[in-house]
């Protein structure tokens, strides 16, 4: 576990010092602050607009962060040849994958906490009370990003950053539309196509499970069962994706 923690910590510190991360973080905070400027145009729906825009901004920033850091995670090590030094150490390749993933997760968690706090600050400055649903929304965003980050680790284990980004974007979009995919399948006459779409539905991540904006906006009660289910789904899906990443990665040679 020492090796995993070391790798995760170093990945976290290295990412924190990336200039692109700082620029992207600044951009996200500016966007959050800008949502307050739209209040006069919101015609009495200022809280809703701020929350909609703010949570959208959190999701977008998180995804961009994964594209920026996650899809290059293994490739960058190969390109810089630091992988030769790391894997020459007595670590299992699973520890490498896990350490890198946990480092990425840590940077996502810190970024999300920062952005949710900033969003809460924007709401308080606008005269709205703090809503615990915002914390749940942040947690849901974190779960979603944890799934997407695991997929990024899988993709980066065998493709270039450009292809990883392309595939990840595709999975992200399809993942958010996964329920619609099943609805669409139920309306099709061809049983073969139905089976194919159902298989795709089961393979792609159910990112629509993590949508919590409506509950926050309308102040609906928190459903603990739903949170547990989303957490279990994240753990299962991320573990599966990381195991697959390991299967691919352990066969690789670094010539």
């Amino acid at each position: 576990m020492v090796a995993v923690i070391s790798l995760a910590r170093h990945t976290f510190v290295d990412a924190l010092r990336e200039r692109a991360f700082l620029v992207l973080g600044l951009f996200a905070f500016v966007m959050l602050a800008a949502s307050r400027l739209l209040n006069p145009l919101a015609l009495g729906e200022a809280r809703r607009v701020t929350l909609d825009l703010g949570l959208g901004c959190v999701a977008l920033f998180g995804f961009l962060l994964i594209v920026l850091l996650g899809t290059r995670m293994v490739h960058k090590e190969i390109e810089r040849k630091t992988i030769l030094v790391l894997l020459a150490k007595p670590i299992h390749r699973a520890e490498f994958i896990l350490g890198k993933y946990l480092g990425l997760i840590a940077i996502l968690a810190v970024s999300l906490i920062g952005m949710v706090v900033a969003l809460a600050g924007v709401l308080l400055l606008s005269g709205y009370a703090f809503d615990t649903n915002l914390i749940v929304a942040g947690y849901y965003a974190f779960l979603e990003l944890a799934v997407v980050a695991a997929l990024a680790m899988l993709l980066t284990a065998f493709t270039s950053p450009v292809l990883s980004t392309f595939f990840l974007l595709g999975l992200y979009v399809v993942g958010h539309l996964s329920t619609s995919l099943l609805d669409m399948a139920s309306m099709l006459p061809n049983p073969g196509t139905v089976k194919l779409l159902t298989a795709v539905f089961h393979l792609v991540p159910r990112l629509d499970l993590f949508s919590y904006t409506l509950e926050v906006v309308h102040g609906l009660p928190i459903d603990a069962g739903q949170i547990l289910l989303a957490t279990a789904y994240t753990a299962t899906y991320a573990t599966g994706a990381l195991l697959l990443a390991l299967v691919v990665f352990r066969r690789r040679e670094f010539s």
């Binding site: 170093h10 810089r80 030769l84 020459a88 150490k89 007595p90």
Partner: protein, 315 residues
């Protein structure tokens, strides 16, 4: 398990062929490498660029698997994690994280070597003292000069207190003082029983350090043995320095190292079989013999000759 009598490295019939591209084009890099390196040896792996040295090193580190053949390292199969725990590796280029500081880099390497916090702190302290990195611990890696980067990679390689140390061009980019220090560190490690394998193109340094060498050419080991034994069979020359008041002609088969006829001073290099006859001739001519020094072929000349011979054989 590792035992005192066992060789630290044993490679048996190691082949490696890389397959690349859509057409699965095959490129053989290693062709039946057999190698044994004993405990406490400084062993140099020599060869031209593309001879297969780096691939061989990567096989020892478990980064690349042999296509055929195998071997043992520190008494364990190649790539075994427990063996890797006692290996230090200094790559040719400083493959490090530019944003991390020297201390963070060493902490990372200690963590990957599975050291606990206390042990890591102690070892980092020891290796920074050995490599004189104490004043640079807080400096980001990207701000270090080539020489300091080299020291840092050596410090990282020494962290796990290795029984087998793999050094790829360890003296490249170092100033003369740092080269001396590095050579001393390597010799000191050998005295402590560490086996050191050096991959270098700076042959005079190899000659000064290595106990044994292997010459790799197109994936095959074409010569291996103790340096003194390998150079023993090479043609010897004798350097004769003398002063002579009269001008003297250089005989056939001899070469002039330098001469200053106006001052009557000469240094010639001559084949051993003509030494006694030439000395008699020179004395008869009134010369004063200042020195007679046997000169053995150096590693550079040996390397050039053997690799050229292997190329001729292959063609």
């Amino acid at each position: 398990m590792e035992s005192e009598s066992q060789p630290v490295v044993r490679l048996e019939d190691v082949h490696k062929t890389f397959t690349a591209g859509f057409l699965r084009r095959q490129t053989p890099v290693l062709r039946g490498v057999e190698l044994e390196i004993g405990r406490g040896e400084i062993f140099a792996l020599l060869g031209r660029n593309g001879a297969g040295k780096t691939t061989l090193m990567k096989i020892l580190l478990g980064l690349v698997r042999p296509t055929r053949g195998g071997g043992r390292l520190l008494g364990r199969p190649l790539g075994d994690r427990r063996a890797r725990a006692r290996i230090g590796f200094q790559p040719e280029q400083p493959y490090l994280y530019p944003a991390l500081t020297v201390r963070e880099t060493l902490d990372l390497m200690a963590g990957l070597s599975r050291m606990g916090a206390r042990q890591a702190r102690a070892r980092v302290g020891e290796v920074t003292a050995v490599c004189d990195l104490g004043d640079h611990l807080g400096m980001p890696v990207r701000k270090l000069s080539r020489g300091w980067l080299q020291r840092l990679t050596l410090a990282a390689a020494l962290l796990p207190d290795p029984r087998f140390l793999l050094l790829d061009e360890p003296l490249g980019g170092l100033d003369p003082e740092a080269r001396l220090v590095t050579k001393e560190i390597i010799r000191h490690l050998r005295q402590g029983g560490t086996t050191v394998m050096i991959n270098s193109h700076i042959l005079p340094d190899v000659e000064a350090l290595a106990d044994r060498i292997a010459l790799l050419e197109e994936g095959r080991i074409i010569a291996t043995g103790r340096l003194s034994d390998l150079l023993e069979g090479t043609e010897k020359r004798v350097e004769i320095g003398f002063e002579c008041p009269r001008p003297v002609e250089i005989p056939d088969g001899c070469a002039c190292v330098w001469q200053w006829p106006e001052m009557g001073r000469y240094v010639w290099e001559v084949p051993p079989q003509v030494v006694s006859g030439l000395l008699e001739d020179l004395l008869r001519a009134g010369a004063i013999i200042r020195s007679v020094v046997p000169r053995r072929e150096g590693l550079e000349a040996y390397f050039a000759r053997e690799t050229a011979r292997a190329t001729r054989r292959a063609s």
